[in-house]
Subunit: 139 residues, 2 copies
DNA sequence: CCGGATCCAACCCGATACTG
DNA sequence: CAGTATCGGGTTGGATCCGG
């Protein structure tokens, strides 16, 4: 499979972190904004769930254990606003609304999965480090 | 350069999202925890800055505009605990402490950069979508 | 069925002051 | 220099009730 690109890959592609991270905090602030969005409690779960195909509001709610109406609605609205998710309301009664990943959303899914894969691959390393750290620090 | 892997790549590699995202929220909760950590305000900046090489505490503080002592210390402690960052204290006076990315930390940097690259590549798409969405919604 | 509106608790984070 | 301790505002997010 295609390997997760290395930092060198990104530098080679002309995307690097400037000395002080002003570009991160600057033109970014935008990038930071995106990372924030991805990092918040539910976005990843919603995107991940929609990665399997379109879902209705209620389906999402029960596919994502623990999410509240408020947060689901809010997250979906944000994602829709950013063009990552497409909302389709069918003029029926009772109402039916489906959410699906846009092309943009699917491309983000890739990067998110890259992160998830990293976490998955290294979960034992992290757990081990935490254990040793905690033992060293609480003894 | 190596392209960002697609969702299909990950599925092919045997890493997929289970139907309901229980593995995300379950064995994960762990993955969620990692994503949370990455998503918080300063982690990305710290890792990005350390990606250029080891730095001292004070150097980090002024390389990352706006970070407070508290947050720098906290972020570094978390990263150290997870084994992403290595702390080296030199028994001198005045004290000198250096922080550096571990191998694990560098591998995470890759994924984080993947996300940053995504944000960078698609910033115009997102801005456009936001504009149209806001116009449609506030008019 | 889909979501908006409100209230309220919990936590996050910045500012400040202080220590080894 | 490299942190720790404490306080207080601001935001997040869950619960609940209500509307279309």
């Amino acid at each position: 499979m295609a390997p997760v690109p290395t930092a060198a890959d990104f530098r080679a592609a002309g995307l690097r972190l400037p000395g002080p991270c002003e570009e991160w905090a600057d033109d970014a602030g935008f990038i930071r904004g995106v990372v924030d969005r991805v990092g918040d409690k539910w976005t990843v779960l919603v995107i991940g769930t929609l990665g399997d195909g379109p879902r209705r509001y209620t389906d999402l709610q029960q596919a994502i254990p623990g999410i509240s109406q408020r947060m689901l609605t809010l997250t979906l609205k944000h994602l829709t606003r950013d063009g990552l998710v497409e909302r389709t309301a069918y003029p029926e009664v009772p109402p039916r609304v489906e959410y699906a990943l846009t092309g943009l959303g699917q491309s983000l899914l890739s990067s998110v999965l890259a992160l998830a894969r990293w976490a998955y691959d290294h979960r034992d390393d992290i757990r081990t480090h935490r254990a040793t750290f905690d033992r060293t620090n609480t003894a």
